[in-house]
């Protein structure tokens, strides 16, 4: 056998080798993305801790109403959207297209609701004078910089997730995409929920005045 033929055989052999994780390549790719993204959010939250711990004074602008109450409602909405996403994945694996669309539709609605509540909160803070470089309470500007950066990156993930779920849902309804695609998108959505489980206590609950 020639060298080139052996090389081709070797390549085919490795391509046919089953995944040691027994999951599809797209699901593994999503897991690798999630790990990298978790490191990004972890780095940002550590930076927040570093700057807060290293600051002589720190502004704690939040009160129960509207900030914490709004944050709690947002948390419940995001957690519930994870539940509806699980319903969508289960229905997709069972081949129930109509039920899948309903569950995914509910997830999109909850994601949009979360984004609207977040943007409403941001708008109120902007009107109070908060920005990336301004603190209306007269202290360090670091709180605004960190709050808007971290929640902004998370909000970007939520909006991306809403778009992704919508696209996947339409593709699944038309038969172009499989239940595996729905499940992989679900992994991403649960990760967005998981990140919020750190953002809410660290950025909201620890900044009560």
């Amino acid at each position: 056998m020639s060298d080139s033929a052996m090389t081709v055989n070797a390549m085919h052999g490795s391509a046919m080798e089953p995944s040691p994780f027994l999951i599809s390549s797209k699901k593994l790719t999503m897991w690798l993305f999630i790990v990298a993204d978790a490191a990004t959010f972890g780095g940002l939250l550590f930076a927040y801790g570093f700057l807060r711990f290293g600051s002589a004074s720190w502004t704690r602008p939040f009160s129960f109403s509207p900030n914490i109450l709004n944050g709690l409602v947002m948390t419940v909405i995001l957690l519930t959207s994870s539940l509806t996403m699980l319903g969508g994945v289960a229905a997709a694996h069972d081949g129930r297209r109509s039920a899948t669309m309903k569950w995914l539709g509910a997830t999109v609605v909850l994601g949009v609701l979360f984004a609207i509540l977040h943007l409403r909160e941001w708008t109120a803070m902007f009107h109070e004078g908060w920005s990336l470089t301004a603190n209306p309470m007269g202290g360090t500007v670091l709180f605004g910089a960190l709050f808007f950066s971290i929640t902004g990156l998370h909000l970007l993930h939520v909006i991306s997730g809403v778009v992704a779920i919508s696209v996947i849902a339409l593709g699944f309804r038309s038969g172009r995409l499989s239940a595996g695609h729905v499940e992989t998108t679900g992994l991403y959505w649960h990760f967005v929920d998981l990140v919020w489980m750190f953002v809410f206590p660290l950025l909201y609950l620890l900044n009560l005045h």
Partner: protein, 104 residues
Amino acid sequence: MTTMEPSAGPNMRVYISVWLGMLLIVAIEAALAYAHVSGGVLVTALLVLAFLEAAIALRYFMHLKYEVPMLFWTLIPGLLLAFFMMNQFWADSSRLNALRFPVP
């Protein structure tokens, strides 16, 4: 022969129980924020509860419990090590604070 079929996960009843459990943890976090505890205790408690929620989400919502163990051992310990290594920065953060001139 190995297959790449999705592993059998829990049913919706289990998911709803997990969802309720996570809501309970959020409620405990909010209650703790209003309890009269020191800053250090509060940060520690909130972080422990957040990691507990993350572990539950990973195991049940993201199905890590139902995948082969190698997936967990490939992904999670390395990430936790990265987080652990970031703790090296706290000493410098503390030093920055100590270097400031005292507030008159």
